[in-house]
Structure formats: structure tokens, C-alpha cells
Amino acid sequence: MNASPGVWLLAWRRFERDRLGLACLVVVLMYAAVMAAAAAGWIVRDWSEEVAVTYAPPTFLGPEAPRGAPAAAAAEAAPQGAREDYGIPDPLAGDLAEIARELAGVSATETRAATLAFGADKWGRDVLKKAVKGTETSLFVGLVAAALAAFLGTLSGALAGYRGGWIDDLFNWLYSVFTSIPYLLLVLAVAAVVNQKGVLTVILILGLTGWTGIFRLIRAEYMKHKVREYVLAADAIGASDGRRMFVHILPNVSHVVLVQLSLHVVLFIKSEVILSFLGFGVGVDTVSWGSMLAEAQSELILGKWWQIAAATLAMALLVTAFSLLTDALRDALDPRLK
């Protein structure tokens, strides 16, 4: 007996023919690989080392005009003048000279690079490494928060749609409460209650506030499916409610869940960036694209654009690829929509 292709295999065959979808899948998988490698500590473990001068520009721009050099020269000249004036040796002269040299960018203990491949931030950290490390945070937050929201949304949607009655009323009431509060205000409120910065907090905030859209869709799907004849047939053979909900109906709405999951990853990556930008995101000990953008706020005034460029590029590529992947997934899973 040779096995027949199931619905998922058929969907994959349709997906395989979508070149753009495949390319996006490769991009997303590469990001995921970067995330995993960064989390495991194989790459960019040294992202927080201050390896370059403050605001070292990207290599292709060349080193910045040594703004500190004339000042250093003046500083070196000054003690000599002082000695001449008073004839008393200055006890701090050596220290002062070293500070002056340091200000000029030449450390006594190490030499810092004047330029980096993609520039450096205020503390001289490599922007490229920060962006890579930021991928770990942002993508992880997006994936886990979307999974949490999809789980909550699917479970509540299934219960409300299938059971109806007071359970439906309860979840609808919750839904209305969550959606009637402006989103950012809600996020800030949850953030204030949790009152602890960190990746887990961000995931909780996004997951707890983001389930509503999925709930609404899954609830509608369950209401549609529970009166279908195959569910009636399952009732006729004596299948329990739980069995009908999760063994019979869930596989038939799982493509909706999958597309929503993918959509929410994109949404939550963007939300995380906004949260971090507003200062409710990850703590100072780690980095995300959002915190990079927050730092870039003040840098832009000084004309240091490379940090914002790195974070934006990294995010834009992932979000675009993920969005297109979502579209391709939808087409593959539900060909009637095309």
C-alpha cells in the first residue's frame, strides 16, 4: 500500500513552486540560524567590547577628522607653560598627559580602531555585532511571543466558538476589554505592573495583549466548523466534545493558526522595537534593534547615522521576508483564496 499525500504534503508541493516564497523561507531560516548561533554563544559573544573610538565611522567613509588632536596638543603644551610660569613641577602632569592622549583616542593600554566595517556606537562597540546580537533578541521575542499569543488565541477561540453560551460571552467580554484600551497604553500598563525589564517580560506583554486578533478568527472558524457534517458525524459515532474540538476541527483550522502565527511574528518584532524604543523593552545589559534605534535618536543629531541604518536594514529585511513568506504560506495552504 503506498501512502497518499496528505494535506500538508500537498501544501508543501504548492509552496515549492513559489520561487519568491522559497527565497523568503531561506532568508528567514538564515536569520533563525543567526539567532540560534548567537544564543548558543558561537558568534558575537564579544559584542559589548569597546573596540573602536567613539562613533567610529564605517570603513568606507574613512576615519573621522581628528577633532581631539589640536586639543591634545594644547594640553601637552599647557603644563610646560605652567612650569615656566611658576617654576613648580606639577604633580598631576603625567596623569593629565595620559588623559589628554586618551581623549585623542590613543589609549595607554590598548589601541582602538579609528574605523569599523559598519561603524561604532557611543561606547565604541561594533554596530554590526550589535545588529547581529539584536537579531537574537528581536527574533526570539517575536517567535516566542507569537507562539504564546497563538496558543492563547486558539485555545480561547476554540472554547468560545465551539461552546458558545456563557463561555463565549466571557471571552468576548475579555476581548472587548482588551481591544477597547489603546494598544500602547495597554502595553505600558502591563509593563508597569510587571515592573521588571527583560526579554521574558516583553514576551509576556506581547503575548498577553496580542491574542485578541487570533481569538476572533479562530472563534469564527470554530463556529463555522462545529455545524459541518463531519463534526456532526463525529458526534454520531460518539466522539467526545474535546475530541471533536481538537482532533476533528483543529486540524481543519490549523492553516489559519499557522498563517496568523507567521503574521504575528512580524507584528511582534515590530512591537518589540517600539517597546524598546520607548524604554519598556529589554534591559541595558542586552541589545535589541529597538534599543539600537533608541540610542540612535541622539546620534542622528550629531550626524552619526550608521547605528540606525544597521538596525533598520536588519529589521526591514527580516520583516519583508517574513511577510512575503506569510503570503506564500497562505496561498499554499488555502489555494481557493488566490
Binding site: N2, S4, R228, Y230, H248
Partner: protein
Amino acid sequence: MSLLSVRDLAVDFRIDEATTLRAVKGIGFDVAERSTVALVGESGSGKSVTALAIMGLLPRENARVHPASRIDYLGRDLLGLPGRELQALRGAEISMIFQEPMSSLNPVFTVGFQIAEALRQHRALPASQARPRALQLLGEVGLAEPQARLGAYPFQLSGGEQQRVMIAMAIACEPKLLIADEPTTALDVTVQRQILELIAGLQARRRMSVLFITHDLSLVGEIADQVVVMRDGEIREQGSAERIFSAPQDAYTRALLACRPPLDRRPQRLPVIDDFMGGTGPKPGERRRGLRGDEPIILEARGLAKSFYFRDGLFGRRELKAVRCASFKLAKGKTLGVVGESGSGKTTVGLLLMRLHKASGGAVLFEGRDLLPLPPKAAYSYKRRIQIVFQNPYASLNPRFTVGQILMEPMQIHGVGSGEAGRRALSLELLDKVGLAADSFAKYPHEFSGGQRQRIAIARALTLRPEVLICDESVSALDVSVQAQLLNLLQDLQDEYAMSYLFISHDLAVVRYMADQVMVMKDGEIVEIAGPDEIYSSPKHPYTRLLLSSMPGRAQQ
């Protein structure tokens, strides 16, 4: 001279990059002026594709008409016509009505607006003239109170009224050719009769030609001049309606005519297509029906009632009595036929017996024990003993389960069979019993045809060895030839296992063939219960008489 002549029409459909399907394989026929031609065939015969090709409505992205094909309309080749000219012709000279009137009418516009639109489009009539014309058309298609209907929305009309509106739109511009694609299939028999008469009357009055597409050969005998029988994209036979019915030449035509249950006899088995194509011919033997009166009763309904409630206004609620005080008895090993039109409550009765809907009142006695007040746990063991086969085999099988999973699930739930291997063996045995190959076990429902899917649904019901089987329109959605096969299968199973059937159907011929007792329902009430021969020869209730007089093909029998 013929109005329309189709020559060497061949249409290919692209399934995916590698495969194409030839849906129509070089057919040719003529539609003479002022005549009705019936295009008859089962699903997949290419009859609807032919109609769409004539209208130029084939989907561009995956359908291709062979370059040698010609469709001449009054000497002009429709296939070579540029899009604008074809559009001007469509609706004005050739118009079409479809199977589902509800989905063919735009739900957000009034009926009057939609009819007037056709007039404005093709006749460039100003609104002031289009409206009275629309009113006149609604009167012509026999809609009651046309003035009031003009401002109605499609959902406010019944299926028959919607189809009348569709016909009014189609004849608005006085077309020379009306293409009717299964216009009565979705309607009740009594309404079907009215629509058929309307189309025949319009055809004569308006001096137009009608191309009538249907799967039901018994329908066309009354209205068609010419009949074209199609199968698998080819024409099997064409000729005048009298000749086709009196002396069919082709084996397939003969089979189609024979596989509908006859009204004057009751053969042991219904003839199926293979009997004719193989040349063996139908098997002889008559079957006896009816009750002696002393059979043991397995299932009895007493005063069964069901009401649905709708919200009406802010606090009010409206009651719809789907079933009112239904009492009947089902004898062991016999078949009780339930006949009625849509909305008669016949399906609800089936669901109430199985406790799939909660009854509002009454009792269901299974071997003398009332099932309705039983707690779910106690009712559970009875679920095994009463099973149901639904109408739509495309909807009643979970598309994400393999056939094996579908068959083994009820056995797992009820602990039938010894372990996985035992259940598997039992499933394979049942697949064989319902006439499916063993390799179906690992396949998914979407790989099967409608008839095969219904066999799977029957096999699923049989896994629990039920004593009562409820067949809720179980063969209605299928082609006539497949219907005959499944009716034979159900009959064989009853002979073998002595199951009792509650056979619910709107098809009076089928019920007469299958049932030992017939129960006629109307608006939730049982209006008549009698033996099958009695009810057909001397119906007591006026509604039963109306139903019988609406049966298609009754004139020829």
C-alpha cells in the same frame, strides 16, 4: 436553419504544469430556432463546460478551447469574436440561468434594480422606462405581487421565486437563445415542476430556443424536442426526444433510463451502468415491500417535537416549530421512508432520533426504552446501535483524516475489535463490503468521487454494527447511475444484517423503491403514513397528491 451550431468543440483544462484534462472531446450538435435541446449527462460529462464555452465564460487562466472548434451563432463564430462584441451578444441575444439562484443574484441590490440593470446595459433604456418593464417581466414569470417584489432583496425571496427573478433577468432583452444550466436541481419537486412549466411556456410564447442542461433524463422528456446525451466529454447519442425515450440506441442511454427506480415495478436490484455496458443486461426478480403488521418494533417516536428560537427585536423571541408532535414506528429489519420538501422537518427528525439535536418534547423508544431523558453516559451505548449516513459525502468526512483513520475512529471510541490490528482487519473487510479497494485505506477523502465517498460514510456507520441506520438524503447528491449502485448496496446490507432503515429523501421514486412504509411530512407535521403502493396509488392527503403529481417523468411511465 439552426440558430446555434457547435462543431468539433474541444476544451482542455490545465490542472497543473504537467497535466491537462480534456473536458470536452470534439462534440457537435445543433440548436434549431424555436426549439428546446436538452444536454444530458452525469457529473464530469462536460455539459456545463459546453454551456460556458458557448457563453464565452470559460475561465481564461486554465481553460483552452481547441483552435479547430467552431460555435456558430446565426453564421457568426462566437469563438473568434472579440470580447466587446461577445459581451454585447451575451445577455441580449444569448442569456443564461444557473443552478443556484441565491448565489447568482447580487445580495445588496433589489430585484427590480437588477432586472432594470440588464435593460439599461443592453437596451440603453432610461430608468423611467426600465422600471415598468421590470414590473411587467416579473408578472410574466409568474411572481405573485410583482409590484411589491420589485423592491425586495434576494434573501427575502424563496428559492423558487429567486429562480423566477433569474429567468426574468435572462429574458429581459428578449434573447433568441436561453441556456438553462440545471435550473431546477436545487429546488423542491413541486417548485421544480412550476419552473419547468414556466420555461416551456416562455419558450413557446417568446419564440426562443432553449438549451436545457441537466443530469436528470426523466426531466427532459416533458420539455425537450431534441436530446443530446453526453458522457466523459463525448456525445453518446443524440436525436429527437421521442426516439431517445422509446428506442434508445446507445447502451449508456439505455442504462441511464433504466437505473432510475421504475414506478410500476420493484426489481430485486436496480440495473447499473455496468450491466448495460458489459452487455449482461438487468437481472430479473421482483422485491416485495410492505409490512404484515406483526413485525417487532425496534424504534418508536411518540409526540416528538423540536422548536428553534430566533431573537426577535430586543427581548422578544420567535419560535419556529421544525417538528411538531411526530409519532411513528420503525419495524425491525424494515425500511421507513420519510418524504418531504425542504423545511418539512424530515432531517430534524433523523437528528432528534440520534440525539444530535435536543428534542423539545416527546419520547424516542428504542426497544421500549426512552432514550431522550438518559444521561450522556447511558446514551453512549445506544449511539452504537443507531447510526446515520448524511447527505453530502463531501462534507461528512473529515478531510484531514485518511480513510483508515475515519473507519478506525468509531471502533477506538467504542472499543470494538481487538487492538489496532483487529480494527484494521475489520476496516479492510468493510471496505471490501462496500466495494472499495483495499488501498483506499491509506488515502484521503479528496481522492475519491462522490459515490465512493458515500461508500466510505456507509462503511463508517457499519463499523459499529448498528441495528438502525438513518439515511438522510444519502443518495440525493449523487448521479443517477451512482445512486442505483448505492441503493443496491444499502439493500444488500439490509438483506445481510437485517438492519432497520429510516430512509429520508425528497425523491419519491427512490422512496417508493426502498421503503416498506412511507411517511409524508409537511411543515414539521406528519400528514400521512401508509404502505408504499397504497400511498402512490391512492394518496389520501392533498399534499401527498400534489407531491406525486409533481414527480418528473410521471407522464412517461
